[in-house]
Amino acid sequence: MSKLLVSPSPHIHSKDSTRSLMLDVVIALIPAVICSVVFYGWQELLVLGVSVASCVLLEWAITKYMLKQPSTIGDLSAVITGILLALNVPYTTPWWVIVIGSIVAIGVAKMTFGGIGQNIWNPALVGRVFLLVSFPTYMTTWSKPTGLFGVDALSGPTPLGAIQEGLMQGSTVQELTAAYDYKDLLFANLGGSAGEVCALALLAGFVYLCCRKVIKPWITLSIFATVALTSLIFWGIAPERFTDPLFNLLTGGLILGACFMATDYVTSPMSLWGGVVFGFGIGFLTMMIRYFGSYPEGVSFAILIMNSVVPLLNMWFKQKKFGRK
């Protein structure tokens, strides 16, 4: 901190600290966590526990034994990485796969770059994408939610996966989406990773974060608008090949990604217009991957690609300096 300049008073004192902001994000994630535990049962609780514990332990161990610096686990950012990673994998994932995911998330994506504030990519997403590429069998075997006290264990593909599969076999989108009720998507009743299931709980968290002014809504809104617009255009042209906007907004990890991962302070642009362009990029890439890519879901890839562009966006859209015209 040798470059810290202290100007003459008056100074503004802010109560915010990294810890208090991160605590707000944790609070915002609680509805989604409760929702996923209720829908998936004790297995989801195990996934969450393993993920959070291994992320925090790993960050503590790396700062203590490898970097020999004061520990940074007090700022709670590792807890959030753990929760997000858990919400991004199917609840049937074995514990050791989750531990590997945490090692990649915290060890490779965060601490290698110098810890909180230095990472280029969202750690939880790097962990998730690494697992998706490394263990496709565990990461794409979805079971339908059985509920906390449920017994049936049907396994089925995610809505997006089912549609990609169906299109390849020559069915039309109308036939395929007929199986899904949009109310089910909104209130979580379909297969998917934990974070994909309950849109409403995630949106509640997002509203909380906006009200507490922890995040600015423009990145998220820009993603939603772009996804809606892009799919509207394609759906308008060829409704039998492309899914409709509402379906695209409600399925996959779009809501989780747009509300909690794209808005990560470290890996998103600082200015308003930078954020809007960032959101546009994520939304557009997501739709391109969903419509034309080989993976059924593209939110995580889109966010990671746009994360890499953030330094450029920060350069293009500089914040206006105080007093300048």
Partner: protein
């Protein structure tokens, strides 16, 4: 410079992969397993030693203006020789390495040693330098291949120890190559600084 030091320099202080960062293309692309890495390293070693020797012999008579094309032709000759030999005697490895055998012609390690060392030194010294740098390249590629094979497919030199399960597939693909290379480089330079 002692003969022993010529070889150890290529292995450690001037290690082409972990210190000089030369020849990244074959390093990243062919190290999907320890055996692949080893054979790519040995193929480069073969070309490197022979081209170093030939270039140190012809360097005094090559006009300065055309020395790079001349060196490339010399290197390409040995690569063609190697390619035909491998096609004849080790067809399986030849198939796996594929395009990366002809690409040794433009490998910057080979041309780099010709420019930086062979055209200023005698035949014997150039051969030793080729062996040293070639061994350095071979060792780095084998280690990188071994790490990627252990993590990516759960086997070492083709011997599987996790009973048919899949390893972490990302390590067999390109991202794993970059990751492993980065971390191995960190370790290598850490040990180098300690000594």
């Amino acid at each position: 410079m002692s003969k022993f030091k010529l070889i150890t320099d290529g292995l450690v202080k001037n290690n082409p992969t972990f210190v000089l960062l030369l020849g990244m293309c074959p390093t990243l692309a062919t190290t999907t397993s320890a055996v692949n890495g080893l054979s790519m390293g040995l193929a480069t070693l073969f070309v490197l030693v022979l081209s170093n020797m030939a270039i140190s012999l012809i360097a005094p008579v090559v006009p300065d203006k055309v020395h790079i094309p001349v060196y490339i032709v010399v290197i390409a000759t040995f690569v063609t020789l190697l390619q035909l030999l491998m096609q004849a005697y080790t067809p399986a490895i030849y198939e796996t390495l594929g395009l990366f055998i002809p690409l040794i012609v433009v490998n910057c390690i080979v041309l780099g040693r010709a420019e930086a060392f062979a055209n200023k030194h005698g035949v014997g010294e150039s051969a030793l330098d080729g062996i040293g740098v070639g061994l350095g390249f071979t060792c780095s590629l084998t280690v990188l291949g071994l790490v990627r094979e252990i993590l990516g497919s759960g086997s070492a030199f083709g011997f599987n120890f996790i009973g048919g399960n899949d390893g972490m597939l990302a390590f067999v693909m390109a991202p794993g190559a970059f990751l492993c290379l980065g971390y191995l480089m960190v370790l290598f330079n850490k040990f180098l600084k300690k000594n």
